[in-house]
Every structure is written in C-alpha cells, then in structure tokens.
Symmetry: C2
C-alpha cells in the first residue's frame, strides 16, 4: 500500500496545485520524534538557540516573496495580510530569542540555608529545564504565525525543546517551505535537522501525541479536533501537558450610552473586526450584546452598511466553507432570528459576510445554544437586550473565551463603580483578555499578552501568544546542597551568565 | 438508608475510638461546593486573606496540645513528629500570607502601547486571578502539613480560592478539629464558613472532582487513587487542572569513592531517612545504587546495624500494613534478591524496618519491574552495581521522581566534569529535586523549593511545597486599553497597592 499523497489546493478554484508530500506513517512519526529526541543536547546551549532563532527570522524575512506567494496560493489570505503575518512571525522568533537572552523565563530562585526553621532549610537553587520533544499542531487560519514557524514552535525552541509539527492540510507547501528555512537556520549554527520536523496527516497527529518520547503538545484549532488530542494526551500511560486553543465566541457588550455616543464608530469597527481575514480569526467577535431601541438600531444599521460594502472572500477550504454556510443556515432558521443581512455563498468558492439578530432573552433558552457557539467565518450575532439584567443573563451562560470586549461611553470610562465596573468583573470571569473600546482581533505579541482563557478557549491556563508562552515547555528543578562546580552554570553563585534571580537570604 | 459512619481508629490497637462524622452524600458535596463558590467574593480581598491565614496559624499553634493528641491517637506518628509537623504547617500558612502581602505571585506585567510594531501594540496590563473552588485531597501520611490545614489548602486560600477538602480516612478527627479552627479564623475576619469545608468518603471524593463548580484540584496519595481522580478531572465536559503527587521511588546513587570515604555516615544516614515517620514519606529513598565490593559492603553493614537498632513502628492503618508486608514479601521472593534483614511484622500492629539487596543488572529485566516501584513503609532496596554503565542502565529505566540523591566523595564535589557531573545530568532528567550528600526526607518550605517532578511523581509540572505552589490556583488575564478607573487596583498606573511589576516601555 502506497502512502496517501498530500496536495496543495487553491481554495479560490478548488484545484490541486501540486503534490507536496505524503502522509506520515507511524514509522515516519517515530523517526521524526527520535531525531528530535536526539537533538535535545544540541539545543541545550542557550547561545546557539538565540542565534538559531534570529537566523530563522532573517531567512524567513529574506524569503518573504516566496513565502507569501506560496501561502497565498493555498490559503487565499492575500499578499497584504500574509506579509503582515510573516512580519509578526519573525518578530515573534526574535522576541523569544531576546527572552532567552534575558533569562527571566528561567525563574531562578536561590534560598540561603537557615537551620533555625522547621524543618531546617538547606541551600536550595531552582531553575527551569526544557520538557523535551514538543508536538505542535498547526492552525488552519494562520499559515505562518500559528503554524510551522509560529508561536508554539518559536517558544518551544526557545525553551530548548525540539519540535515536531503536524502540518495543517490547508497549507502543506507553506509548511514544507518554512520548515526548510528553519532547518537551514539550524544547520548554520551546527544544530541537527531533527530540531524541527514536519509530518502530514490526521493519523500522524494522533501517533504524535501518543508517542512515549513526546513530552508536551501545543494546538490551535477546533473544539472537536483539539478535545480528541487533549483526551489522547491525558489517557497516555504518562500523561503530558496539552496546551490547546480550541474555540472562542469572543463576546462584545455595547452599553446603551456607548451606542448613543458612537453608533457609527461601533458599527463600522465591528464590521471590520468580523470580516478581517474573512472572519477566520480565533478572536473574531461572534456575539454582540447590543441594546434594543433606536441607538442600538443605529449601530446595527452602520454594521449592515459596512458589512454590506465588504468584499466577499474565499475561506481556507471547501469543507470550512460548507460548514460555515450550514452553520449560518442552522442559526438563521431558529424562530425569532432575523437574517436580513445573513452571510451566503458568492459564486462557487467565495462567501459574502453578514450577521444575524436575535432578542437577547431567547439566548437563555437551551434551544438557542448554538448561537452561543463559535461559527468560524465572517458572521456575527447581534443579541438585542432590554436591560442590564438581560445582558448579564446571557453572559452567565457563556463558556470560556479568549477575549471579551466592552464598548463604553466616555462617561462610563471615568467611574470606578457602576454598570461598567460591574461588566468588567463579569467578563474577567469568562475571558483571558478584556478589551475596552477596541476590538479583539490583532493580538499583539507582547510580554503582558494573554491569549488563552477558560475552557474551551484553552485547555490549560497558559498563553499561546506573548512572552509567557515559553513557560509551557519548562519544568522546575530544585538543587539542594549541590556543590558549586556541579551546579548548572545558570545557578552558580558567581552568576557567570548574568541571569536575573530572586535570592532569599 | 442512613449515611455511612466515619470512625476514628487507633492504629496501635485497631480499635475504633469515636464516630467523627458520616460520609458525605452527593447532596452534601454539592452544598459544600456551592457554599465555597458563594464565598469567592469575600475571599477576593487580599488584606482579609492575609489576616485570615495568620489567625488560622495562631489558632492552630494555640491548640497544639489538642491537635497533637488527636492526631497521634489516630495516626500513631508520635507527639514529637506531630509537634514538628504542626510547626511546619503554621509556618506554611504564614509564609503564604507573606506571599500574598508581597504580591509577586500576581506576576504583574505592564506593556506601554507601541504603534510601530506589527501588529501594533496597545496598552496591556496582565495579572492573575483565582481559579475558583479548589478540591483538596488530604494525604494519609501528613495529617496536618498535607491535609486540612496543609500546603494545598494554604496556597489555594492564599490565591483567593475557597477550598473543599476530602479528608483522609486515617485521620477524620484531626481533619474536623483543624477545619473547625480554620473556620473560626475565617469567622474572626468576617469570612463565611464556606471558605473551608471538609467532606468524608471515597465516593464524595469522586463527586467533588466532577462537580461543575470545582475549578481545580490538589492531591497527595497513591498512583492508583491519584490517577483515577486525574482521569476524572480530564474527562469532565470542562476539564480542570489536577495537581497530583502520586508516588516516587527517590533513587540514591552512592559512588565508589563516596562509599570508600564515608561508609558509616552513608549507611547510618540512609537508615535514618528510610525509617523516618516509619518509612511513610513520599520522599523516602526506595532504591539505592550501591557499588559492589568491600566499600559498598561496609555501607550495607552500617545500614544493617542502624536499621536493626531502629525501633519497630506502627503504620497508619491495617490496610497499609498489609500492603507493606505483602509488597516486601513479593520483592523478597524474586530470584537473586537477598533479604537477610527484610522488614517484617512486629506483634499484631507494628512492623520492623529493613532492606533488600539485589544485583543491579537484574533491574534491567522487566521481571524485576516491581523493585522500581514505590513500596510505602520502612524498606529500601540496595541495587549493587559493578560500574557506572550498570548504574546508568538502572537510572534509564526509572519513571519520574520527586527527588534524586547523590552521595559523592569530597574530590567528586570539586570538579565540573567527570562521572559526578554526568550523574547530575542523568538525575536532573528524572526528578524534581536533586540532593547532594544529604537525604531527601525533610522537604523545606521555602521559595526555591520544588516538590514535584515527572509523572508519576506529579501529574503537572508544579510544586505542592514552597513559594510557587500558589501558582497552581491562578490564571492570567490581560487588560487591553482598559481605562484607569476600571482597572483592578492591582494594575492601576499609580500602583496604589505597591505591588512588584515588570514594565515594558
């Protein structure tokens, strides 16, 4: 039996472009994991890792034309978006190189001995060591920033963990191209090719998370696929951490005062956020609590106008397009749902963006549960509410989210109590990031970023974007009364590497 | 049907002392969890939490006579050990109060906006919020420090999480007494009783981890019990973090040079560590790699002498005693295992400590797997090795451990390379704490402590002892462009609470 071919497909036409690879067999997965395992020692050197990550960024930047062309051909995301995504990706690689250089991520703590305590305190020195081979599951919607050279890979490599990426079937050619650039960067610094491998195929993904030498996994994708892998990771004889980002509704609450004050800005801004990347962002606002009445109507009118003027777009693949159109139809068919500007097909391959409306009180009815679930693509749902209690009742029904956004009036941003403060408290309980008077799309790569949140936004309490993402691939080790010459250099008294540390006298 | 009674039992006689409680019904568990959930808001105030933890420590200290008497009657651990354990427990409560006061655990990061980046960086302010109701599963072997008033409870309360403890059946009276003291402390600071509840019964423990309002769990116990609860936590519709400490062999490696140099000190020290608390420590050294030959023989002789002189002891309960004696017999029956000073019964309720010996090369044979598993109680296994390769081959077969200990000669502690450095590298890969020329028992409560390790030592990469234990009960939230008056006080620009923070300009 010959291995299944992996094709690059043009979503604008549905045509196969080229055969890029074949699906990995269990033997292929095993070989990739063993090569990664063998590369751990080489990757243990911090200086080499820093240089490797920076060269990887340089090589990707230098190949911008080829990378963007390849990615656009199989994702239809467009050159502008993909050029921006590549810049984000290389910024991220360099940011993690800087983080390794800084060394704060090692979280070094040193306790001097104190025999007066109960029990007596010996000398303790603690830092963090890499977990080992990391499996990364690439996302459909970010062929660069959340795929082969993306945040999971960059943070795992920065931590000292070799990576095996399970490529996403929507962009196999981009995956192979980026992998070859990363491996060229590795070779330039004397690192074995095994530090970064790519495997293709659904079954290969399951093999990977079950492999005894795989020590951790990162995932960005759907609730269904992510939960299956999470379950497999938890069911192993030796369970491993599975950092999955599975899905998010990203609620927005517009207060009556905000609607009265900024109807046009809110309606237009919402349209921009919903249609960005053809609605294929994990932080796309999928539910908007909008007041009933004329101010809310004005917001809806501006949204209708702006979203009506937005160009149709091509989704990442045919399956996704079919799921989107089915999802919209299912929601629109519910009694009481208005679909005056619902999304729909545009020709054979594109879709036109749109939105649905529903009285907010329906959303406390379990029959309307589907409206509280993510619908991937350019659609949002306006839930028209009659008062703060009604808005609160809807928020109370929501699962975990990556983000929650409040649109407030100028006056509401000035007081520390009242309905706005109450809303902040409510949405903090259900999201990993709270945005005021902005939009959740455009997740900054920054030290204080948090891109995660209560389940199903994430399967763990860590982030996949920002400085602390590196923490996912490390575990602490304490050294008790270990003589100076035998300590790892990071923990020596003289601090030869100049690392930040907290000392308890 | 009436609820099953929960008895306090004297392990020295096997006699029931008093009926302390009844097993919790599903309704009881639900009521405890709901009361805890309702207590979150009251516990959100940092100043109140600090005062509560300190008062709890004071009340426990003041009740030392009653606590020690109650615990000794149902655990047979002895007044000296229990007095020390109470001191450790109250030190821990105060240390977490100090940690809350310090605020470093909030890991506050503030990023100034930078529109020049791709994507542009808005203002981001990140800190950590409590997860919610925490389930704590008390350990058999520490009726105080790892039970109702122990590290999991103290760190969860410090984080702002109300706690429901599933008491251990070996010390229900101690559990109820400590709970009443903690609740009295809560009342003194106006906190509702729901911040700390205790439930009894195996089924109640399962109900607890499955309750939708429970947000996290901490566990100390066996691989079997812990894995069942871990699996239940992972299988929930909304999975929750399960921080379990399940079991550890705690290998010790004695080098030939160390055996030559300090045979008596090593043999005697080992006996002390193995028999401490009647061998009922999770960090009891369970496997000792000892060189073959006369120096190793001298270590074994001193061990035999010291362990022979150690008093018999009473294990925590009859089931544990039976499992210990069966475990020893099963190991001693393997061909090639020498059992010249094996542990055995002492009267009807006590056991005498001892050890077994085996040639190290047998341990690479799967038939000897059981010798690489924890045997809870006063026994250790000497694996006599012929050379470094043989010792390395045994280490390579070990699962994860809480600790690993090296006994080195003075000369070996002076060089950064050679066999000792190689050993440090090997044991760092398989343990959460590396000890040189000491013993793993007596886990200091300290900022740099790490009491965890690769599975099954722990089911997560966090610690259950030491300053960073509080991290288990928190999740980060980022606030993007949130106006100053609406920010939580911890994140305000003026820093009214004087908290440590990292600012990116």
């Amino acid at each position: 039996m010959s291995a299944a071919p992996v094709w690059s497909v043009d979503p604008r036409t549905g045509k196969q472009l080229e055969q890029v690879a074949v699906e990995a067999t269990p033997q292929d997965v095993d070989a990739a994991v063993r090569a990664a395992h063998a590369a751990r020692a080489a990757l243990a050197d911090r200086t080499t890792r820093i240089a490797f990550l920076r060269t990887a960024a340089d090589l990707l930047d230098a190949a911008v034309a080829e990378v963007v062309e390849t990615a656009d051909a199989e994702t239809a995301l467009g050159a502008a978006r993909l050029t921006g995504e590549l810049a984000r990706t290389t910024y991220q690689l360099r940011a993690f190189a800087d983080a390794v250089e800084d060394g704060g991520y090692l979280d070094i703590r040193i306790d001097r001995p104190d025999p007066s305590l109960v029990p007596p305190r010996p000398e303790l020195r603690r830092y963090k060591v890499p977990l080992g081979v990391t499996a990364v599951y690439a996302a459909s919607n970010f062929p660069l920033a959340f795929s082969v050279p993306g945040g999971d890979t960059a943070s795992a490599l920065a931590a000292g963990c070799p990576v095996v990426v399970k490529a996403h079937p929507d962009h196999p050619a981009t995956s192979e191209l980026c992998a070859s650039l990363l491996r060229r960067a590795a070779a330039e610094h004397g690192l074995p090719a095994g530090v970064l491998s790519v495997v293709h195929g659904f079954d290969a993904g399951l093999e990977l998370v079950r492999h005894p030498l795989v020590a951790a996994a990162g995932f960005t994708g759907s609730v269904r696929g992510g939960r299956a892998l999470f379950d497999a990771a938890a069911a192993r004889p030796v369970p491993i951490p599975f950092h999955g980002e599975l899905g998010s509704l990203n609620p927005v609450v517009v207060t009556p005062a905000a609607a009265a004050e900024r109807a046009e800005e809110i309606g237009t801004g919402l349209a921009g956020s919903v249609t960005l990347g053809v609605g294929q962002f994990c932080v796309k606002p999928g539910l908007v609590l909008l007041p009933q009445g004329t101010d809310g109507d004005r917001v809806a009118d501006h949204l209708a106008q702006a979203i009506g003027a937005a160009a149709p777009g091509v989704l990442l693949d045919q399956r996704m397009r079919a799921a989107f159109l089915t999802g919209v139809r299912e929601r629109a068919a519910l009694p009481g749902v208005e679909a005056t500007r619902a999304p729909g097909p545009d020709g054979e391959h594109a879709v036109a963006p749109g939105f649905l409306s529903v009285p907010a009180d329906r959303l406390t009815d379990p029959a309307y549960e589907v409206l509280l679930e993510e619908c991937f693509g350019p659609v949002t749902v306006l839930a028209r509410y009659a008062g703060q209690d009604e808005a609160g009742a809807v928020l109370a029904r929501l699962a975990g989210n990556l983000s929650a956004t409040l649109q407030l009036s100028a006056a509401e941003t000035e007081g520390a109590s009242g309905p706005a403060a109450d809303l902040i408290g409510r949405v903090t309980a259900l999201a990993g990031r709270v945005v005021v008077n902005g939009w959740p799309t455009g997740v900054a790569v920054a030290p204080a970023q948090h891109h995660g949140g209560p389940y199903p936004a994430a399967t763990s309490h860590s982030t996949s974007v920002g400085g602390t993402a590196i923490e996912r691939w490390l575990r602490p080790v304490a050294f008790q009364s270990v003589p100076e010459p035998l300590l790892p250099p990071e923990l020596r008294e003289a601090n030869p590497l100049g690392l930040p540390r907290r000392v308890t006298p």
